[in-house]
Amino acid sequence: MLAKRIIACLDVRDGSVVKGIEFQDLRDAGDPAALARRYNDEGIDELIVLDVSATIEARLALLETVRRVAQELLIPLGVGGGIRSLEDAKAVFDAGADKVSLNTAALRDPAAVTALARVYGSQAVVVAIDAKREEGEFRVFSRSGSAREARDAVSWAREVEGRGAGEILLTSIDRDGTKQGFDCELTAAVSGAVAIPVIASGGAGAPAHFVEVFRDGRADAALAASIFHFAEHGIADLKRYLAEQGVPVRL
């Protein structure tokens, strides 16, 4: 049986891991390669490195970070942040990534999703969707949550699925960094609308939140950052707890 995945996210700026509260007040959580090694040893199922800086210098630093992180892992590695072209994607794959994640770039140029899927396969293309509740809808935001888009998360998810995305990384802006639990309604709405896996993100604060998002949110995977970075909850303990609750996980 396919296991529900627990994914750790490393938000990286200028080569160092940071994690913010609702995308702001970033605080330093350490060396990405050291964290990657720790997570790998503790049994994390997958790792995603998200570059939250945007300058050219930082992008070169990111490739070095991806190389160092990939060196520590015998599990899948996804990379996102600032990937706009096939060339950007190629550099990241060559550095050791298994998947790339597009967010703003997919909104600006949806055909880029198809182009990437043609070359690397759908399974290597993740579209990240940042959504916020607004007037009974799940509104899509871009540019790290700062720019409001005309689309809603459910129809955008369907569109990128049709364009060749292999997975959706769905972040609730409302819950991100709050530790109040995932937005299960948002997750269920998107997961029920597409046939590709959905990774829920934003709001993980306690082991019970993961059970909720797998059961009520119908998530295929759940992603967290700060809950792991600051060693509040060990990954092995979390997975044992999930198994006790009847969630299929890799132990």
Binding site: M1, L2, L74, Y120, A124, D220, L251
Partner: protein, 203 residues
């Protein structure tokens, strides 16, 4: 002893090279069919669309057949494994290597998401397998694919996602895995180490 990883333009060789190196092998990229002569064992990697195996037609196909005839071990991963079969519904016009019987078909099933992404279990069939030597307990492997190969006489382990498909095949020294051993933590490392051991014997 060097293991050659075939570069035919489909996917990420970095992870495969790193995995082989973690399993104790010297591994190198093979970029031209004649260079197959210089290595003792072969890895056929690949992610993505079956159409990209078109690059394996012609000289690559002949050289790979030659290596198999010369009893050199081959490990085919993911799309590479699918290519060992007669073909795939994903690109019906293309021929696979036709070493193993059957065609690859799209995964399907009620409530089952495709692509099949993530960690799933390997169920061994009651057949001898060198590939799975020492792979004990619950055997989790990392999958990422949409098409899969049918269960046949060379299948040594199966996995279920909607339907049951061949996740490990073994015909003598030709091994195929639908999952990514280089991404499958301890289980994957053991399979790579078993392949490295097989390659050492022949050299």
């Amino acid at each position: 002893m060097t293991i050659g990883v075939i570069d035919y333009g489909a996917g990420n060789l970095t992870s495969v090279l790193k995995g082989l190196s973690a399993a104790g092998a010297a591994a190198d990229v093979v970029r031209r069919p004649p260079d197959i002569e210089d290595v003792e064992a072969l890895v056929i990697p690949g992610v993505g669309h079956f159409a990209s195996t078109k690059a394996l037609d012609g000289d690559w196909r002949r050289s790979i057949y030659g290596a198999i005839d010369a009893s050199r071990p081959v490990l085919a991963i993911c799309l590479g494994m699918q290519w060992l079969f007669q073909g795939s519904d994903e690109a019906p016009a293309l021929d696979g290597l036709d070493l193993l019987a059957g065609r690859c078909t799209r995964l399907a099933g009620t409530g089952v998401k495709v692509p099949h992404v993530g960690w799933n279990t390997l169920t061994r069939l009651p057949r001898p397998s060198r590939m799975l030597d020492g792979v004990e307990g619950e055997r989790w492997a990392y999958f990422n694919h949409m098409y899969a190969a049918p269960v046949g006489r060379d299948t040594v382990a199966v996995t279920t996602h909607g339907a049951v498909f061949a996740s490990c095949v073994e015909q003598g020294g030709v091994w195929g895995v639908q999952f990514h051993p280089e991404k499958s933590a301890a289980t994957g490392l053991r399979i790579l180490a078993n392949f490295v051991a097989l390659a050492r014997e022949g050299s």
